[in-house]
Symmetry: C2
Subunit: 379 residues, 2 copies
Amino acid sequence: MADPATCPPLTRASVQAAHDLIKPYIHLTPLLTCTTLSRIASTPRDLKGTRWEGRVPARPRMDLVFKCENFQKVGAFKARGAFHAVERLKQEPGFDPSTGVVTHSSGNHAQALALAARENGIKAYIVMPEISAKPKIAATKGYGAEVIFSGSTSVEREKVTKEVMERTGARLVPPYDHPDIILGQGTLGLEMQGQAREVFKGEGLDGVLAPCGGGGMLSGVALSCEGTGIRVWGCEPEKDGADDAKRGYYSGKRVESVSTLTIADGLRTPLGLYPWGIIYERRLVGGMYSVSEEEIKMALRLVYERMKIVIEPSSAVSLAIALYNEDFRKMVEEEGGEKGWKIGCVFTGGNVSLEALGELFGTMGEGLEEAAAKDQIGE
Amino acid sequence: MADPATCPPLTRASVQAAHDLIKPYIHLTPLLTCTTLSRIASTPRDLKGTRWEGRVPARPRMDLVFKCENFQKVGAFKARGAFHAVERLKQEPGFDPSTGVVTHSSGNHAQALALAARENGIKAYIVMPEISAKPKIAATKGYGAEVIFSGSTSVEREKVTKEVMERTGARLVPPYDHPDIILGQGTLGLEMQGQAREVFKGEGLDGVLAPCGGGGMLSGVALSCEGTGIRVWGCEPEKDGADDAKRGYYSGKRVESVSTLTIADGLRTPLGLYPWGIIYERRLVGGMYSVSEEEIKMALRLVYERMKIVIEPSSAVSLAIALYNEDFRKMVEEEGGEKGWKIGCVFTGGNVSLEALGELFGTMGEGLEEAAAKDQIGE
């Protein structure tokens, strides 16, 4: 990874420069609309039985659009940061492709780095826990990376990663807490801005809902919106304290560790230091919101049933905030008024196994099926 | 339904006229590409353990494109036929919208007719078995139709349908065996032809693989290709004799009843009389092919994992033929030669419950997971 001291400043212009660098390598993913989901978002909820019971339901007006990074290379936005990190390394005097790059990840970042390295003739080492799912190991190897196994705790993984670095000289490319990664992920925000003006015939977005795990993508998107007047909000699951960024944001102290088994498995990591600087210290994110596991599942179901696209549970967290978080909805009602707001939801990726989906929905209760059936009234 | 005697002739020009009529009401669904799936289709299969074991694997060259009717209104191509049938009724002197239309269906045709009727201010009666899934009943009611319950045998459903017709004067709109329905479904074939020329920069399709249940869509697509030089092939599941159209096609005698529980539940019906005339008697379909349940599942999995879109099992049958039917693949190798063929696969719809998906893939064997993992090497 390039030395952070030599990185471009964390500004909108640097996101634009990152976009110019990676554009030849990534997909311009579609920004999709869905009349039914915008209609549901703009309909007051029945709050009976929810934690908001007793409140007057909010009456927001939202036009939702969806940035579909599930159609991105490797099936997730992580391709953006990885390609940008690799491009920046290539520009570094003396960087030797044969010594390569290394990361520890069993998720989308692993495949993204493996692909970015392969496309640039760079050796890639990926440290994965021995217990990783076989298809993930096969996929990472399929992209030409050398997979090195470790234990599954972060201490064990970091130890093995360090050994690889010492043995091979490979450069570490971390998953989110680095300026080059942040600038790369932020490019999806730039694309959304242009695509939304096409969808809305000249009018731009009023705001963006972006999921937050380590915060690389959320902070990059916030940079891409700086000075445009577009609001940016962070979206988290709340199970087992997965809403660490929200808790940090409202207490003024970054939460440094998280241990959660939320189904939004891309969002289990604590907020990184660079993202914290952008999200909290520079206040480029206007608010943080969270949702329950059931709300994530309901949003996920709506996307499968109404939009007919495959997204991973982490993706659904942005839509779940728009549909189910009454604090967010009340704010949109009050500030967006009669005209309402045009809101972009980021779908982070589409890498979910069919077995995992089967488990998620095979166990869904009758009540939820009924709720889903009530929504079956659209286009 | 319009009297068949007054229907337009079953020609390509009539499909074009149908398209002009329904274009304002339907979505122009995308024709998608997928590099990985074309690559897999163009790679010789390992035939060990398959029913083709011992053969030399075929080496076809295929560029696949996918007509995504899962993104059509009501989530299936059935919207086309229903809107066309309703438009034709509206043109009939003396047709009274308040007497309405009726059909018996618990599937995509029910929702398609309900929507087409609502959009035209026409009353719709849908006869559904009492045991239909609640979300399907809710969805049909959601489109404004009056749902009338019957027993689940075809005799019981037809009896109730007849009662509705006698009581209300509503006109019957059958799901596939009628010229207006066939011409409506065929419009997707016309769209594919134009879209393929865009995708392939001026070059057109060499052939189309279309699933076949009652045969309304397959025969409509065949009409849309008449005189263009584009080959059309029918695709069926083979479980419990679901390959009735294939057996009829090669024996010269239409099979009039089928009883199968194939997972491709849109393809459980026997071939209709009008479709038979087009497919077999006029020989507008060049061949019929079938695949096993496991092959359908493998194709379905690839679409979810690689294309990230939601399709119903019936949709996957077209892709499964391209990937797994060695008779078809051998034919493409021999006739398509070095240059290969550009083949359009019809994805019929995307209406599958997440619970059903969970059941399908929750029970998938280890061998299949391994096979799927081997395919994880794409873009």
